[in-house]
């Protein structure tokens, strides 16, 4: 009986640890935008994204037409809110996906 309880406890702990690791790793969002071709336009959107609750940092990859958002642990961004910001700035929201910290941003912060 003791062995069974121990095995269950170990199993649950393992699942929880994996979940926590996975959750902590995906605290970045990539937002794809079309039609944005100059630094000045990007900055207007960047300011508004930075003001969203839970957003720690925003990086812009102008050539790729992407915003990378780093959010606090446990924060989930609403796609509707982000797409509204893009659309209201006059550009086309394409997609928003959750990621681990990309290699390029990791190198940037070193």
């Amino acid at each position: 009986m003791k062995t069974t309880v121990l095995l269950i406890a170990v199993g649950i702990s393992t699942v929880l640890i994996y979940a926590a690791v996975a959750f902590a790793g995906e605290n970045h969002y990539r937002v794809d935008v079309e039609g944005m071709n100059c630094p000045f336009c990007a900055y207007g959107i960047e300011k508004k994204l930075e003001n969203l609750d839970g957003v720690e940092k925003v990086d812009v990859e102008l050539e790729a037409g992407q915003f990378w958002l780093e959010v606090d642990d446990g924060v989930t961004l609403s796609q509707e809110t982000v797409s509204d910001i893009i659309r209201n700035a006059g550009f086309t929201f394409k997609d928003m996906t959750q990621h681990e910290e990309p290699e390029s941003l990791r190198n940037n912060s070193e």
Binding site: E34, G35, M36, N37, C38, P39, F40, C41, A42, Y43, G44, I45, E46, K48, D59, V60, E61, L62, E63, G65, R87, N88, A89, G90, F91, T92, S104, N108
Partner: protein, 290 residues
């Protein structure tokens, strides 16, 4: 003395709206974000002379834009003018000048077509507005009332409108605008209507290749402006020394940062086929910040 009218006409078209790299001598179809204000300050120095006349017209033009939504934006333009005209009459050199706020303009711009795609955007917008007679149109000096073109204000309500289109990529940008200004009568003077065709090509000089992040851009700018003005009417009669067609080329530079844009251009006459003894431009220099 169509150069005076050109100064005012150019001011009306300076409200380059957009937030991004945009033409220096006219408008753009690039967006102003919803709820955002943009500001532009532009110094315009106009020089014109002939054997008897020497004109210096300097203007500080303030433009405030507001994005009502992604497609509709409103703009207000207020120039501060400093004009000086030196003339030689029967061997006597006379200097007459005026200084003060000119006529304010308000206009709206609506983008009715836009195509955003990876790496480029294409837009067409219509704009229209009114110039109100807010400037002083009864300025006087020791010789009496200044001639109408030398006044800071025209005294007339004028309307203007047109179409502007923009194609922008990461490497270059093309803008074109067709506009018309209709002028009304004030103080027994009615400026001739003016039609303009403007075009602009901007090419990114730096950085040559885009890396990661958001680098600052340096654009080389070349703009062309074709202006045709009808003759003015003075006391109901056509002024034979006004109106005509001018073609200008404006090479310039524009530095675009995330937070601001600094730009400069020199507008040079290529052809000035003006009526009678209308004064011809030597150059129009611009230095702007937005």
């Amino acid at each position: 003395m169509s150069v005076y009218r050109h100064v005012i006409g150019l001011l009306l078209c300076l409200a380059a709206s957009g937030a991004s790299g945009a033409p220096i001598t006219f408008n753009t179809a690039l967006p102003v974000a919803r709820g955002e204000f943009i500001n532009r300050e532009l110094v315009v120095l106009t020089r014109a002379d002939d054997r008897q006349r020497d004109l210096n017209a300097n203007a500080l033009v303030s433009v405030l834009g507001y994005g009502a939504n992604a497609d509709l934006a409103f703009f207000g333009v207020l120039p501060y003018l400093d004009k000086e005209l030196k003339t030689t009459v029967r061997g006597v050199r006379l200097t007459r000048s005026s200084e003060g706020f000119g006529d304010a303009s308000l206009f709206a711009r609506y983008t009715f077509f836009k195509q955003n795609a990876p790496g480029h955007t294409f837009r067409i917008a219509a704009f229209g507005g009114v110039k109100a007679p807010t400037g002083d149109d009864d300025d006087r000096d020791a010789l009496g009332r200044l001639p109408v073109p030398l006044q800071s204000g025209s005294g007339s309500w004028d309307v203007f409108g047109g179409l502007v289109t923009t194609y922008q990529t990461l490497a270059y940008q093309v803008d074109a605008q067709l506009s018309y200004t209709a002028k009304s009568e004030a103080n027994n003077f009615e400026g001739g209507g003016e039609i303009r065709l403007d075009s602009s090509f901007q090419y990114r000089l730096s950085p040559r290749t885009l890396g990661r992040g958001t680098p600052d851009f340096l654009y080389a700018v070349l703009e062309a402006n074709i202006l045709h003005g009808s003759k003015n009417r003075v006391f109901g009669s056509r002024d034979q020394n006004s109106g005509g067609t001018s073609i200008f080329l404006s090479p310039g530079l524009q530095y675009v940062n995330k937070r601001f844009i600094v730009e400069s251009s020199m507008q040079l006459p290529v052809s000035q086929n003006l009526n009678g003894e209308a004064l011809k431009n030597d150059y129009v220099a611009r230095l702007g910040f937005r």
